[in-house]
C-alpha cells in the first residue's frame, strides 16, 4: 500500500536494544518512539535541503543508531549485532519514510502513524512478556 510504513522490524530491534535498555520503570509513549520521530524529522530536513536519497538513507541508519545510543545513555555499543540491526532497520525505515514524504504524505500524519503503531507494538510485546511470567 502506498505510504505504508512497516515498523515491524524496527520494533523488534527496539525491543531488543532500546526499550529494554532504558532505566526508567515507566516508559512514556514519547520515549518509546523518540529516536524514530527524530529520524523522521531528519529525513524531512534532508528532502527539503535537496539531498539525494541513497546516501542520506544510508546515513539515517547511523543517525538512528546514535539516537538509540544517546537515548539509552551510552557512548558506544560493544555489540556488533546491535549496531548492525539498528543501522539496517534505520536505513530501511528511512527509505520508506522518504518515499512516503515524497509521495505527499504529511509529516504529521507519518509521525502519528509511526508513534501509534510503535506504541501498540510496545504494549503488545510487554503484555506478552507479562503474561508469560
Amino acid at each position: 500500500m502506498k505510504g505504508n510504513i512497516s515498523i515491524l522490524n524496527i520494533s523488534g530491534a527496539f525491543e531488543k536494544y532500546y526499550w529494554s535498555e532504558i532505566d526508567e520503570k515507566v516508559i512514556s509513549k514519547h520515549v518509546v518512539s523518540e529516536p524514530l520521530i527524530d529520524l523522521i524529522d531528519h529525513i524531512d530536513k534532508a528532502i527539503n535541503a535537496g539531498l539525494e536519497k541513497r546516501g542520506e538513507c544510508a546515513y539515517s541508519g547511523s543517525v538512528l543508531l546514535s539516537l538509540v545510543l544517546e537515548g539509552t545513555g551510552r557512548k558506544y555499543s560493544y555489540n556488533i549485532d546491535e549496531t548492525n540491526d539498528l543501522y539496517k532497520e534505520g536505513k530501511a525505515l528511512a527509505g520508506d519514510v522518504w518515499d512516503a514524504l515524497v509521495d505527499g504524505l504529511s509529516l504529521v500524519r507519518i509521525k502519528k502513524q509511526v508513534i501509534g503503531s510503535l506504541w501498540n507494538d510496545y504494549l503488545r510485546r510487554n503484555q506478552k512478556k507479562r503474561s508469560g511470567e
Partner: protein
Amino acid sequence: MAKINKFRRGNIIFILIILMLLLAPLGISYFIISGQAQKVLRAFELSDEDGEARVIEITASQFQFNPNVIHVDLGEKIIFRVTSTDVMHGFYIDGKDVFAEVPPGETVEIGPLQFNQPGKFKIRCAITCGPLHPFMIADLIVEPDYTLFVFVALTVLTAITVLLYVKTKGREDRILGINRKVKIDVLKRVRIIGPLLKRVLQWRGIHFVLILPNLLFFMLIFATGFFGNPTGNKNFSIAVVWILWFALIEFMIIFASRTWCTMCPLPAVGEWIARRRFIGVHNVRKWFSLNKKWPKSLDNMWIGALSFLVMSLMILWLVTRPVVSAILFLILIVMGTVLYLIVPARHFCRSICPAGAYIGYHSNESIFEVRSRSKAICDAHPGKECIRGSPKGYGCPWKLYPGGNQENTYCGQCYECLKNCPLDNMTIKARMIGEDLPEKAIRTKNNYDESWMGFIRFSLVIFYTLAFFGPYWFLKDWGNMGNAYGANLASINLLTPTMGGFQKWLNWALLVSFVALIAFPAIFYGFSWLARKAAKVKDIPTKDMFGAYSYVLAPFGLTLWIGFAITLILVNWAYPVNAFSDPFGWGWNLFGFKFDWYPIFPHLIPFIQLPLILLGLALAINFTYIISLKFFNGRKPAFRSTAVMTVLYTGSALLFVYLIG
C-alpha cells in the same frame, strides 16, 4: 599478556643495545681523535708561542669566503688575514671563541691559531651581511682528517654488521632485533594519559582549538612577510617557518606522524566554509561546495612530490626573502580554500600540498598511528560511520576507510573517525618505526609516485645540506639567481631576475631536477636490476623490485633530514627565538630578550649526525631484507639482493658522511 610484556622488555633492551652500539664507538673515537679529552670543547687554541706562522689570505664578499675550502695541518700555527671586498662581514670558526669583524675594504689578522683537533670545521660569517648571510660558509679541514676516516670506517662497519645480522638472524617480523608487530593501544592501555587523550580527541572543539593559534601565526607570517624586515633571518616569517617549523616537522613525523596536518590552517578555511561550521556538525549534510569528484588520475602523490621539488628549486629565495615565503603561503592557503569549495575533501592535502606530500611519505616511519582496534569488526559493520559520517562527526575528509586503513600516508589525523565510531573501535597505537613499510612496499605495484617522492626527498637532503651548510658558493649563487637583496612587498622589485641570474638559476634547477628525477632513480633501478640478477629469480620483474625497494628511502631519508634539522636548529636557534620578540625585525623587544647569534657546539654536530646516518643505513638494509623475504620466500636470494642494494645505500651514506665529516 605475560608474553607481550616479555617482548616489550626485550624490545627496550634491544633498543638500548643498538643505541649503545651506535654511540659507544662514536664517543670513544671522538675522544681518541680529540687527543686530549680536556680539550673536547675547544677545537684549537690561541697560540702565544713565538715561531713561524703560516698566513692564509681570505677574501670575504657577499656571500662567500675565498678560498672556500682551507686545508691546514694538525698542530700548525695559522694566521688568517681576512679582507672584505664589499660590506661588513664577520669571521667565526666553529668550536672556537674566534670572532672578528671585517669592515668593508679592510684587512683583519686573526691568530696565530693552533689546531689541535683534526676534522672539518666551518668558518661562518657572524655579522648579518644580507639575505644569504646564514649560508656564508667555508670549510676548514685540519689534516690528517681522522674524523672522516673514522666516520667512513663506522659507516662501512655498520653496513657489514647489519648485513651479517640479517644473514644470521634476519626475520620478517624483526627490525634490528625489535619485533615490529607489537603495538600498544594508547587510548586503552596507557594509564591516565590514554583516557584523557581519548576525551580530548573526541571533543569536537579540539580541531578548531589546535588550528586557531596556527592561523594566528599564519596571519603574522603574512603581515611580517609582506611588511616586515626584508632580511630573512630578522623576519618572523622566515626565521620561525624555515628554521623552527621546518626542523620541528621532521621530529614530529617520527613521534606523531602527520600531527602537523591536524593543526594546519591552510585548508581549514575552505573546510569551515564548506561545512558551514567551525566546530560542530551541521544538521543537514550539505556541503557548501561544487561537490565535484576528484579525478582519479590526480589521486596520488605526483603533484605533491613535484610541488616539493619546485619549492626546493626556489628554496634559496624562499628561506631568505620574506615576501617570497609570504607569497608561497598565500598561494597555498588560496588553493587549499578554493579546492575545498570545488571538491569537499582534503584532496589539496593529499595530492597538492608539498608539505603534505613529504610528511605523508615519511609518516610510515612514525611510531604513531590511528587505526581500528579490530578490522574484522569494522568490516562486519555496514554503517561505516568512519566513511560516511554520523551526527557526532564528519566522514573521513581524507577519503579513507579508517577502519581498514593500513598506512599512515594519507591519514591526516583529524580524529573524525574517533568521534564517529559507535563501536569504540578506533584508537591511537604506538608501534615500531616503519611497522607497515614492507607490506606497503609490496602492496604498491605499478605506482611510482611515492618512489619518486623518495628519490626527490633523498636527493634534496643532500642538496639542502650543500646549499645551506656547504662551502660551495657557486651552488648557492645558482639557486639564488645571483641576487644580493632581501625583499618585502615594498622592495619586491629588487627581486626582478636578471638574464644572467635566470641562467644561473637554470643551472641549479636542471642539476637538482636531473639528479632527483633521473640520475638517482636510474642508479637505483640499475642496482635493483643487479639485485634481481644476484637473487637469481625470474618471475619478479625488476620494476616491482625497484618500486618496492624505493620505499626504504623513507626511513633512510628521514634520518638524514632529522640530522639536517638538528644542524639547522643548533646553528641558527637564535633567529627564531629573537623573531618572537621582534617579529617584524624593526628593533622591537616585546619579551625583553634578544640573543646574540652563536651556534651551540657546532663542531660536535657531525658527531650527532653520524648516528642518525648509521641508523638510517641500518634501517634501509634491514627493510630491504624484509621486503626481499616477502618477494622471494627464501633467505638466500633475499640476502643476496639485500647485499647488492647495501652497496648503493652505503655509497649514499658515505656521500653524506663526506659532506658533514
